[in-house]
Symmetry: C2
């Protein structure tokens, strides 16, 4: 077995040993992809000290052979987890690990039925912790995905005119990324205008932009499986004094969060550095979400930059820093860059300009 | 509370009584949407005989008020299921139902920690069984989604020329649906050409169409949350004798499956009616998936038309009929219509032509 897969499996097996399991069921789609290359929508891996099996169904027989040629393919028609358990038992697994955050109760029951008297042990985050630390190649994949979103945003800005609908703008932004080679948008593009900018996860509507609207655009591309994520806020025509102030606060909070990104710093402390600026300005209640999150094969993955996250940052973590202030009925501002943690300070993977003052379009 | 939510909750409460639970946790996103109208990516409902609570986080506070104004909103920062369990306990729930197919092991552990000595009971499919039977309004939503896919396919056919890539065709088809008002594609559009047509769930690649290629196009739109699904197969320029034969077999299998769709018929018998034609023609091994599936808020939902599905069809079931023959290294054919089961025979919701002979483009 060549290339990243073998090294990833070797690291996973070390972690399995520490977790005292001699076999591990991998059930999350992107964990399977990370370890095997297989990107199908249904499947599981069984990792033992000496082999890895890929379980999926008829639909993916050929794809599995293409994407994971060195893995033994086990074709299962139904009750996939039961088949995994049966194989683990047949292979003599004594302690069988599974991921409680990525296995349904039904899946665990099937696994248990198949494994018989095997000892099932919850093992959370074994693969996620590997995935959190990006290789140089992975950083380049994410950088390339970020560049697609940068280009799409650049094309979108001239379209932010009165009369344009949120929905049409979101669709055009996504198409721009796809035409340039994105697999897909990394998530549904958010274009939230006027009072709708107060919804952190707004779905684009047929609302037409009006003069005076703030417009929050949250956009990311997926390319070769890897995601990007960024947010910019604009205003159409003219800005209210309040929105200019709020923008400036969020801008300073974003910079403070970025400045705090360093190996060894607790994620909660990065969140706190940005949050203090918003709270000191009197908008603490209006920033109700965490400061950021890891990005990789999933657009939200480890580590989380949140108030209670004691995880320490490390070189190779790729995270967003995205403070926001949301004022119901009025509007909102969010600013988000994507960065990789480095020894000498974070490197920004987002290339779109981030002006210090609310940009008027 | 007004339509259709109130009626759906009333039917659910009857089912809860039959299942001997006095409270139910609803955790699947589209089950939440069906019952409440709330479409956020994270949340849960707690349904008791006299109230319904919607649990989600800060990001969805405003959206929840817009989409589910009659539901009590409970804002939770983390450990959503623990909060649900605590509320169920505080409300005196004795038997708390949950859906084992749509709750992770971790979620169940949290729910259990919150509910304390409450009695947790697995209740599979309570909401899914309601959803399987579509109202007249829901059928119209699905019909409208199907019409978007029909229009997109019509625009795509002239683009099926040598040199066009699978990826560019898939992107154009999706954009056409989105521009016409689709929320999104119901699933990643499949454009599988030449030998790649042998992959039932092929991901579009940069492969260019060549003269002699069969091209399988599997496309669906999502509109107002409701999905559609259809598949057509074409050939570029000229067809091999084998592919013409295979097409004809699949065409007859599709017609036989449709002819078998009637209230009271077991899903397995519909599958068998189509499968017999393919098996009799000597291609039984090359049709490795089920004949079809229900379509609604999810593109794959109850009922399943599969070999072991004893569920009886009923008026209001909306299902696909999609036999296929897949020949590794050679190509494949799949033909799929979307239909609603009616007393007097099924009604087809797909309007795209379905020629009896392999169409040459």
């Amino acid at each position: 077995m060549t290339s990243p897969t073998a090294a990833r499996l070797a690291r996973l097996r070390e972690r399995m040993q520490s977790a005292a399991v001699d076999a591990l069921v991998v059930s999350a789609r992107n964990n399977i992809r990370y370890l095997s290359g297989f990107s199908g929508s249904s499947g599981a891996l069984l990792v033992t000290p000496h082999e890895v099996l890929l379980f999926s169904d008829f639909r993916y027989r050929i794809q599995a052979a293409e994407q994971a040629p060195d893995f033994e393919f086990v074709e299962v028609q139904r009750h996939l987890m039961k088949a995994v358990g049966e194989r683990a038992r047949a292979d003599g697994a004594r302690a069988l690990g599974y991921d409680p955050a990525n296995l349904t109760c039904e899946g665990r029951d099937e696994l248990s039925a198949g494994a018989g008297d095997g000892d099932l042990r919850p093992c959370a985050g074994l693969v996620e912790e590997l995935r959190a630390l990006k290789s140089a190649d992975e950083v380049e994949q994410i950088r390339a995905a970020a560049a697609l979103a940068d280009s799409a945003l650049e094309r979108l800005i001239p379209m932010l005119r009165p009369g344009a609908t949120e929905r049409s703008l979101a669709v055009e932004a996504e198409f721009a990324m796809r035409r340039m080679g994105a697999d897909a948008a990394a998530f549904d593009v958010i274009v939230a205008s006027g009072p709708r900018a107060a919804l952190p996860h707004a779905e684009p509507t047929d609302r037409e932009l009006e003069v005076g609207d703030v417009v929050v655009i949250d956009i990311g591309a997926k390319r070769h499986g890897y995601c990007s994520d960024m947010t910019r806020t604009f205003v159409v025509g003219r800005a209210s004094q309040q929105m200019r102030e709020v923008y400036s606060i969020v801008y300073r909070a974003q910079a403070a969060g970025v400045a705090a990104l360093a190996p060894g710093v607790a994620c909660a402390d990065v969140d706190a550095a940005a949050r203090a600026i918003i709270a000191d300005a009197g908008y603490g209640e209006a920033f109700g979400h965490g400061l950021g999150h890891g990005v990789g094969l999933d657009v939200h993955e480890a580590p989380r930059l949140g108030r209670e996250e004691e995880t320490k940052l490390a070189v190779g973590h790729v995270v967003t820093v995205e403070p926001g202030v949301y004022l119901a009925g009025v509007g909102g501002v969010r600013l988000e860059n994507l960065l990789v943690v480095r020894e000498g300070g974070p490197e920004t993977l987002t290339s779109s300009p981030l002006p210090a003052e609310l940009p008027i379009v």
